[in-house]
């Protein structure tokens, strides 16, 4: 019997069959839009960090499954009165919610809540740790076009150090057997990635013709703390996927970006809106993948 997946905290916790089970279910949701499997269930959405895409995508996924999305405005929550995180979440649980979707600025908070609550916890992004639903939707988008990802060559481009999207992609792609290369400023590439069997390339022009897809990461100004990048112009010159650079890509290559895009920095508009981009497909797939996550975690409760 397959072991039920209790929480979705990070792709580093999943085996390949578990990742594929999410992707397969998401594919069936994409093929069949009417799937109200969770009617009468309630999902709490608690976002301690700003979010547009992920928050709306989770809300839509919840509604499409027939469940009720209970959205908490944390700026007007009891946390502002000094209540602890555990007390607040246990109260939300006591209201009768069936699952919790949480985004937090500190890595480890969803894991911590998964240890202290009895309902399934879905990580919608935690600090520098992981963004598993984004990782899964990237895998879904890649798999849909490239097929089995085993042996496919994927480039992750940008600030690897601070990116939770990069980490979820790294674990997910390696678990599914893809060949992964990372590229970006050397001070933003931790040496640890090599121990995962990931290649590092500092010459973007040299690596671009060899890859099947490029996942371009957003430069996260809010997480740099003034230490990482000398200038945006230099970054664009060395690691931006510019209009000219996109000509180096294979004809069949794909360009992904988790959004929001810093146009003219990591991605030129001609690339963001050009023939290689699958960015809006990613957004669409996000809903199906998040439906799959919620369904799988809540199906046997």
């Amino acid at each position: 019997m397959t072991k039920r997946i209790k929480h979705c905290i990070g792709l580093r916790f999943f085996k390949s069959n578990e990742i594929n089970s999410f992707l397969d279910l998401a594919a069936s949701f994409k093929a069949n839009h009417n799937f109200k499997s969770l009617s009468s269930k309630t999902v709490a959405h608690v976002f301690f960090e700003p979010s547009t895409r992920t928050r709306l995508s989770f809300e839509m996924a919840t509604q499409k499954l027939g469940a009720f999305p209970m959205v908490l405005d944390v700026n007007h929550s009891s946390l502002t009165k000094g209540e602890t995180l555990v007390d607040m979440m246990k109260n939300i649980e006591a209201l009768g919610v069936d699952a919790l979707v949480i985004r937090h600025c500190d890595g480890g908070v969803p894991y911590f809540l998964s240890q202290n609550l009895s309902v399934p916890v879905v990580n919608a992004g935690d600090g520098y740790h992981e963004h598993p639903s984004q990782g899964l939707l990237d895998l879904f988008t890649l798999r849909e076009t490239l097929g089995d990802l085993k042996g496919k060559h994927i480039l992750i481009l940008g600030d690897i150090m601070h990116s939770r999207v990069a980490k979820s992609n790294l674990w997910g792609l390696k678990t599914l057997g893809a060949k992964v290369t990372v590229s970006g400023p050397p001070n933003l590439i931790p040496s640890y990635v090599r121990s995962l069997g990931v290649d590092v390339s500092l010459d973007l022009d040299e690596i671009l013709p060899k890859v099947d897809a490029v996942n371009v990461l957003r430069i996260q100004f809010e997480r740099q703390h003034g230490i990482a990048l000398p200038s945006m112009k230099e970054y664009r010159n060395l690691f931006g996927l510019t209009k000219d650079r996109q000509m180096l890509l294979k004809e069949s290559a794909m360009v992904l970006h988790p959004g929001p895009i810093n146009r003219g920095v990591e991605l030129d508009s001609e690339v963001a809106d050009g023939k290689f981009n699958v960015i809006l497909n990613q957004v669409e797939h996000g809903v199906y993948v998040r439906m799959a996550i919620l369904h799988k975690l809540m199906e046997a409760m």
Partner: protein, 406 residues
């Protein structure tokens, strides 16, 4: 009821170790070297063969709220640290005013000694110096340097005053508490689990910068509370060639625990300074066996009574118990080549910071001591309160506080 403690190893006034028997009555040592003829029903005998008796253990702790001081002292002394120094708490910073110093000193414990180290800055802010000479006149034994180190101009000013006063300095962990916007740790585990921390290079650079300023401004005794990176302790060790009165503390936990244990966000393992990688831990162990450290520090804070679970980021460090501290410390010493006198010195304050006698016990002294197994024996499995099971040798043999066996 009388207590006889037999076959323990005691350090004498000539700093030599003798196997001695102790007689304890009414909370005092009433016999050293002999057991009087008494009715067996009125005497409890504890055989502590192969254990080292430590009656004057010392450590630094952060000061609690004054209202909690008595229970704080009871917990510290009841756990085997009989002398201690209080440092300004980074959160409440209660030791930045002469009246606060006087108030704390008026609550002196009945046994053991305690000292106060005053805060170099007012209100825990890094931009305003305290009245350092007034604090020392009020009874502070020295000055504690915390965040002031980040402000070079203020540090130079403080060192100039400290040199004029001639009081010792204690330097806190040279890493900031892992809260707020500190930048990312370079460690593999920190990257993997997405926690922020401070790297060994950060600690090394702070030590290097601090000492380069110190040598130009003062010659007072300096003690580093806890250093966790081999590079930093090596640098301090080399510095001792030109600046003699300098000592370094070490948390024994940093020699047996690595950041590999953080993969599940075990918030009991949140230390300041943070746990390092396994290879750094091994290098630190080498520095320890090479004699580059002077004393053990428990990094413990008895004031933390908060029991509700918290996420890693919101957990304060210093939750490990003193029982764990002694178990791990005695394990490290029992496996080392240090002689017994050296072992005892790891539990004493560095000489310039000491206003009590060494780990010696004599007639009519208060009967408070901890006896640690000093010989290496087959490791046994221990469940530390940190949520870690490990194999240790050594261990606590007997703890007596004010004549009562704990």
């Amino acid at each position: 009821m009388s207590i006889a403690v037999v076959n323990g190893k005691l350090i004498n006034s000539e700093n030599k170790v003798n196997v001695q028997n102790l007689m304890i009555q009414n909370g005092k040592v009433t016999g050293v070297g002999y057991i009087p003829d008494e009715d067996e029903s009125t005497i409890s005998i504890f055989d502590i063969t192969q254990s080292l008796i430590l009656p004057n253990t010392f450590d630094f702790f952060y000061a609690p709220d004054i209202r909690d001081l008595n229970s704080y002292i009871d917990e510290i002394q009841g756990s085997g640290i009989f002398n201690f120094a209080l440092l300004p708490n980074q959160m409440t910073n209660v030791l930045d005013h002469p009246m606060a110093i006087e108030k704390f000193l008026s609550m002196k414990p009945q046994t053991g000694t305690f000292q106060l180290f005053a805060s170099a800055t007012k209100d825990g802010a890094p931009d305003s110096l305290s009245e350092l000479s007034l604090l020392c006149q009020a009874g502070a034994s020295g000055i504690y340097l915390g965040r002031i180190i980040e402000n070079e101009i203020l540090l130079k000013q403080a060192l100039t005053y400290i040199d004029m006063i001639g009081c010792p300095i204690v330097v806190g962990p040279l890493t900031r508490l892992i809260t707020g916007d500190t930048h990312l740790n370079e460690g593999d585990m920190s990257f993997k689990i997405g926690i922020r921390g401070e790297s060994i290079d950060d600690e090394f650079r702070r030590v290097q910068d601090f000492l380069s300023i110190v040598e130009r401004y003062t010659r007072v005794p300096i003690h580093f509370l806890s250093i966790s990176s081999p590079k930093a302790v090596n640098h301090i060790h080399e510095f001792k060639n030109t600046y003699h009165d300098i000592s370094v503390g070490l948390s024994p936990f940093h020699l047996i625990l690595s950041d590999n244990l953080l993969s599940d966000y075990n918030n009991k393992l949140k230390f300041n300074p943070p746990l390092r990688s396994e290879s750094e831990m091994n290098s630190l162990h080498l520095a320890f066996t090479n004699g580059q450290f002077d004393m053990f520090t428990s990094l413990h804070a008895p004031s933390d009574k908060e029991m509700q679970p918290r996420p890693f980021f919101n957990t304060m460090p210093y939750v490990q118990t003193l029982n764990d501290f002694f178990s791990v410390a005695s394990h490290l010493l029992s496996e080392s080549d240090f002689d017994l006198e050296q072992m005892a010195s790891f539990f004493e304050a560095p000489i310039s910071f000491r206003n009590y006698k060494k780990n010696q016990l004599g007639l009519n002294d208060p009967a408070s001591f901890i006896a640690l197994k000093n010989h290496s024996r087959d490791p046994y499995e221990v469940d530390l309160s940190l949520g870690v099971t490990t194999k240790l040798s050594g261990g606590v043999d007997l703890l007596v506080h004010e004549g009562v066996v704990k």
